[in-house]
Amino acid sequence: MTGASGSGKSTLLNLLGGLDTPSSGTIEIETRRISEMSREELALYRRSGVGMIFQSFNLIPGFSALENVALPLVFAGMAKKERRARAREGLTRVGLEARAAHRPSELSGGEQQRVAIARALVNRPRLLLADEPTGNLDSRTSREIVTLLAELNRTQGLTVIMVTHEESLAREFAARGVRLSDGRVESEETWR
């Protein structure tokens, strides 16, 4: 998903992620009509129906990588031991098992975004929303992250909706491209 700043990319993503609610219209994801959900139901949807990653990673600074990944499971009411096992598994999947005990401040930007991905996927959602995940990363690391997302899409059947400024990167990995302008879909193309 591309578009100039203020075109409504982030708003659309927040609506899809259940963080925001539409003032009009309906949103349906798979069979769920999230536009009509209560605050409580939306929390539940965010917990297990969808995963989100952000440009600024949004990890909790005081928590270790492992604790950050396990956070959604805390709200799901999972026992600590199980939580840690699941979180470790998630870190392994993004190649960070060795950094589990480190705080976000001790990790590089790429590593932090990997932790965020592991956290977003720890409840095994079928949809991942990425709001400019490479915006704070250098081009090499950006590539690594997008490669990881593409791989998750291919191997786990994860749907990824990514907002980006880098159209070349999008064209390289994405199946479809949507361009937004002033809150509307300007163009839509299928790349592969």
């Binding site: 927040n14 992620g17 963080l19 925001d20 605050r39 409580e40 929390a43 539940l44 965010r46 917990r47 297990s48 989100m52 952000f54 600024s56 949004n58 990890l59 909790i60 005081g62 956070l71 959604p72 805390v74 709200f75 799901a76 009411g77 026992a79 600590k80 956290r119 977003a120 409840n123």
Partner: protein
């Protein structure tokens, strides 16, 4: 979210801001400490009074005064003229006939007159002025006296006396039993009635010959009692007691107020008061009614106890109110700390919501934190109150003991106060956490996540 996770998260968050947590909890500590020491002081005083009432068997005691003694209207300053001459009717004289009549009433166990003789007590050459109280042998062995050494009178005629341990100090003795067997000389002052005539009064006024005479009686100490910490209109209240028979033989000033002198002249001198012991507290009301019917004024200590109780209730309420002010201030501290915490953790709250925390989860996270502050403050506050009242108790007793007052526990910590203080602290902190928790739950994750 599990309770355990809530607790762990709250501990971690508070630990991260140790100093602030400590300062906030310290506010609560002071509030709870003040409340605890004040309530325990109120309770302690109440307990002391109740226990002394119980142990001294005062719930079945009555005091009877003659009808014109202490008559309220007589002391009305606006009607001073009424005071100039006693008019009490003959019926209300408390003489032996009245005593016998009251003793015959149903439910009355013992009646003994209130006889206090002004006298000089002499031991080892030291003189002490005392109001010596005469009590019957039967009363001396009742629970109204608490012996720390020795015994009560064997008979009303025994040449013995009982003293309280407050006399120990006066005679430089330490152990109550050291007083047993000591011979004390009671030097009483008598009043020569034969001289109560114009000639005698003239002589007295000219100072030629006073109508008084003294008499020495040597008595042996047989018992030492604990002095009473509770001061009040008790039937037994003196430092020196002698058997009533011995008192009867002594020369004494047979009056306790100025009207008695006039009445003595008229030949209708009675006792100033009669102490009545009942078989059970159930007889208090019927006996009171009958005795008032005879024209006497009756005073039941139970009534006074109710007054005292009411007084303590008011005192407790005032003390509690003072403590409450501290608590209110402390809870404002909690609100402040928690609101600050929300502002600092704004992004964190957004993240938690983004990964699936419900409003309820967020609300509870803050409730757990504020109640944990309350728990800390409650526990420390109780400890503080306990220590401070212990120190005050020690200091007060140290100074009072030098004046012959026995050791008193001024503070009382019943089990409910321990749990109550901590529970109250947690409850207040939870209440203080309501606004911050609601506010945290309402944080908009979209806005919170935009915060960079």
């Amino acid at each position: 979210m599990r309770i355990r996770d809530h607790v762990e998260l709250a501990v971690a968050n508070l630990w991260k801001r140790k100093l602030r947590t400590l300062l906030t909890a310290f506010g609560v500590t002071i509030g709870i400490g003040a409340l605890v020491s004040m309530v325990s002081f109120g309770k302690g005083m109440q307990k002391n009074v109740t226990e002394s009432f119980q142990s001294l068997d005062l719930f079945n005691s009555l005091t009877v005064f003659s009808g014109d003694f202490m008559a309220g209207d007589r002391f009305d300053p606006d009607q001073r003229s009424a005071v100039t001459a006693p008019t009490g009717d003959a019926r209300s004289v408390l003489d032996d006939a009245a005593l016998a009549k009251i003793a015959r009433l149903k439910g009355v166990d013992t009646v003994f007159p209130e006889v206090r003789i002004p006298a000089v007590v002499r031991l080892n050459g030291r003189d002490e002025f005392r109001l010596v109280q005469a009590i019957p042998a039967g009363v001396s062995v009742s629970p109204m006296l608490k012996f720390s050494a020795g015994r009560g009178f064997a008979s009303d005629e025994e040449n013995s006396l009982i003293v309280t341990d407050s006399l120990l100090r006066l005679f430089d003795l330490r152990e109550p039993r050291d007083l047993l067997g000591k011979k004390l000389i009671i030097s009483s002052i008598g009043f020569d009635f034969s001289r109560l005539n114009p000639a005698g009064i003239a002589e007295a006024l000219s100072g030629e010959r006073l109508p008084f005479e003294t008499e020495d009686t040597e008595l042996t100490v047989v018992g030492v009692t604990e002095s009473q910490a509770f001061a009040g209109p008790l039937p037994i209240q003196s430092d020196v007691f002698i058997p009533s028979g011995v008192a009867g033989r002594m020369k004494k000033l047979p009056f306790s107020n100025v009207w008695d002198i006039f009445r003595a002249g008229e030949g209708r001198l009675g006792y100033s008061a009669l102490n009545v012991r009942l078989k059970s507290p159930a007889f208090v009301e019927p006996v009171k009614k009958e005795v008032s019917g005879m024209g006497y004024r009756v005073f039941a200590l139970v009534d006074q106890f109710q007054q005292v109780r009411k007084g303590f209730l008011i005192m407790n309420m005032i003390l509690t109110a003072v403590g409450m002010i501290a608590i209110v201030v402390a809870s404002l501290g909690i609100v402040n700390t928690m609101v600050m915490s929300i502002l600092e953790r704004y992004a964190e709250i957004g993240i938690m919501k983004a990964v699936g925390a419900s409003d309820r989860d967020v609300r509870r996270i803050f409730f757990f934190e504020s109640s944990l502050i309350g728990l800390l403050g409650g526990v420390f506050g109780f400890a503080l109150g306990w220590v401070v009242s212990g120190i005050i108790n020690g200091v007060v007793n140290y100074f009072l003991s030098r004046q012959g007052v026995p050791f008193i526990r001024y503070f009382n910590f019943p089990a409910w106060l321990v749990l109550g203080a901590i529970a109250f602290s947690v409850a207040v902190s939870l209440a203080a956490g309501v606004y911050p928790a609601m506010r945290a739950a309402r944080v908009d994750p979209v806005r919170a996540l935009r915060h960079d």
